[in-house]
């Protein structure tokens, strides 16, 4: 999926952001390296999401190419990443999309489901 960012908003060119991308961007609001991100994602999701190293590294590479994150220093072999302004815009856009979807789903509660 490619994110186009402009004028303060992000538009997903081919569809919604994946869960992995969303949580990685969320975790990178504080710069960190791969394993640290995995631990943080586990905390953020309440233990629901345990990301595999293959998934994590693949998504990091893609988002780095798309300019949503940038390398931010190294600790030995571990490379730290930080979210960019484009990444924040994409994250916010996705958050708003998910919020509006949840709001639209309120009829489920009204119908007693």
């Amino acid at each position: 999926m490619r994110i186009i960012v402009g004028e303060g908003y992000a538009v997903a060119e081919q569809g919604p952001m994946t869960e992995a991308m969303y949580y990685i961007l969320l975790s990178l609001l504080k710069p960190g390296h791969g394993y640290g991100m995995m631990q943080r994602i586990k905390e953020l999701s309440g233990g629901r999401l345990v990301m595999g190293p293959g998934t994590l590294y693949g998504v990091l590479s893609r988002m780095n190419k798309e300019g949503l994150i940038v390398p931010a220093g190294e600790e030995g072999r571990r490379k730290n990443y930080a979210i960019t302004e484009d990444g924040k815009a994409a994250l916010l856009a996705e958050y708003r999309r998910l919020k509006s979807m949840v709001a639209d789903g309120k009829i489920l509660e009204e119908d007693g489901l």
Binding site: Y35, L49, P53, G54, G58, V59
Partner: protein, 252 residues
């Protein structure tokens, strides 16, 4: 230290390779090196481990034979031990009862890595097809000129037909392997897109593969033996035999 060698499954059959190494470690043989066809094992304490193969997915013109250190660090921090790397494949190990997470939670996330195998397979087809097309062109248009080496090669085949069998068997073996790899990689990608994860412990080889490989290997062995027998009984072909095939119209 005791060592042994065993023929391992083809690179592209990831699940079979993983099971292969896991089963041998359970018998007390730990892999220390992987070659083109053979893996080398050292005697070790039998243990139940999970082996997983990761496919490096390099970009265009990038070298996939070395895994980036930061990628290796992520996997190792999760509890996987890096064992070895060869070509696009990198082997990791973790105890069976450890909580090291599987590489990919969502099967679709593995597709880019598997597609690196598909690209590698396509590049393997190119030299074989180019060689075949070049020879067909030379045979059809009798373009010998400076290509004398091809002409004398055809003459050699005409004088020693069992050699044709060897070359044919090798060619058919490489074609079958390329076709099988294409079929396997396409099937795995299709399954991954459908959410079916890679099978890390496939049970048994398909009978068709055993039959085809068995037949081609038998043909190769037979032609090699007959070539040697022909040479021993009849001596090397006389120059006249070569010249006869060399100057005939067409190739016989």
């Amino acid at each position: 230290m005791k060592y042994r060698y065993k023929i391992h499954p083809y690179d592209f059959i990831l699940g079979e390779n993983e099971k292969f190494y896991s089963d041998l470690e359970a018998e007390g043989w730990r892999v220390i090196k992987r070659g083109r066809f053979l893996s080398k094992f050292a005697a070790a304490q039998p243990s139940r481990v999970r082996y997983r193969l990761e496919v490096a997915a390099p970009g265009f013109m990038e070298n996939g034979s070395t895994m980036p250190p930061e990628q290796q660090a992520v996997y190792e921090d999760c509890g996987w031990e890096y064992v070895l790397g060869r070509g696009l494949l990198h082997l990791f190990r973790a105890p069976e009862d450890s909580d090291a997470p599987e590489f990919y939670m969502d099967p679709a996330d593995q597709i880019p890595a598997i597609e690196a195998l598909r690209r590698q397979n396509y590049s393997g087809w190119v030299p074989a097809m180019a060689f075949f097309a070049c020879n067909m062109f030379l045979v059809k248009y009798r373009v010998y000129g400076v290509m004398g080496i091809f002409r004398s090669w055809h003459a050699l085949m005409a004088a020693e037909p069992w050699a044709v069998g060897i070359i044919t068997a090798l060619f058919l073996l490489s074609v079958y392997q390329a076709v099988e790899q294409t079929w396997y990689v396409n099937r795995v990608c299709r399954h991954l897109k459908q959410g079916i994860p890679l099978d890390h412990s496939p049970q048994g080889q398909r009978p068709a593969r055993k039959i085809v490989y068995g037949a081609l290997l038998a043909m190769l062995v037979l032609c090699t033996v007959m070539t040697v027998v022909q040479r021993v009984r009849m001596g090397p072909p006389s120059p006249a035999a070569y010249w006869s095939a060399y100057t005939k119209e067409g190739v016989t």
